[in-house]
């Protein structure tokens, strides 16, 4: 998905299956080991195809992807350093914010 907003809409419109069941709740908490998949009917969407072929890319360690079935396994929750934020995030300051 190009943006977090697009991702949210994609989930909300029911294009995504988790462990074979359709989940359209963006805030759904994915557990380690869950398989996230693009729904069969949605696989020919321009958005999906574009995302698939846009480039060869490496996924982070915490997700393993199987391109053929358009599915990905959420292996484990990532650490801060593993999430490719475009900008620097400082969760320690966020913790301070709530702790104060």
């Amino acid at each position: 998905m190009p943006t977090p907003f697009a991702a949210r809409q994609f989930v909300n419109h029911g294009h995504v299956l988790v462990n074979g069941k359709r989940v359209n709740i963006p805030s759904y908490r994915v557990k380690p080991g869950d398989v996230v998949q693009v729904r069969e009917r949605s696989r020919n969407m321009a958005l999906v195809l574009e995302a698939l072929q846009s480039q060869e890319r490496d996924t982070p360690d915490y997700v393993t992807v199987e391109a053929k079935s358009m599915s990905a396994t959420f292996v484990r929750a990532p650490e801060l350093a593993e999430v490719p934020y475009p900008v620097k995030m400082e969760p320690n300051l966020v913790v301070e914010f709530y702790a104060s």
Partner: protein, 149 residues
């Protein structure tokens, strides 16, 4: 007379519109402010998007955005860090975010790592490609085919 009638209609219309707008602004979970406003407030391109107004208007939003910046307090730094992290996930309300924080604090281990882990476990965050499909990251030459959806 017709002028009066027009005015009356205009008033009636504006009254009719008012509740709808209020309703929209209190909608449960969706963000209703301009998303790129956050980019400008933070002075950073948060999602690494080419469209970000940071490139053309690198100052804060609003009438006083171009004023001299005052010194940011400790609290200000904390608040910005929080708003940035929350804003990155797009449509996250303060309530949702603070609940996620509380869960992170409750769990064993480092609270900030837990916080990131919980945020990234959201289904929309998992679907948002976790990797170099994000524009700013450098192109990777490895030929591992992976989905990016």
């Amino acid at each position: 007379m017709t002028g009066d009638a027009d005015a009356a209609v205009a008033i009636a219309l504006s009254i009719g519109n008012a509740p709808a707008r209020i309703e929209e602004s209190v909608s449960m979970s969706k963000r209703h402010s301009a998303k790129y406003k956050l980019d400008r407030r933070m002075g950073e391109n948060i999602w690494g998007r080419p469209k970000s107004p940071i490139n053309s208007r690198a100052y804060g939003p609003g009438q006083h955005g171009q004023r001299r910046k005052s010194k940011v307090s400790d609290f200000g730094l904390q608040l910005r860090a929080k708003q940035k992290l929350k804003g990155y996930y797009g449509n996250l309300t303060e309530k949702q975010f603070s609940r996620i924080y509380q869960e992170a604090a409750r769990r064993k281990g480092n609270t900030s790592e837990n916080l990131i882990a919980l945020l990234e476990s959201r289904l929309d965050a998992v679907v948002y490609p976790p990797s170099s499909c994000r524009p700013p990251s450098p192109p990777v030459s490895s030929s591992t085919t992976a989905t990016c959806w």
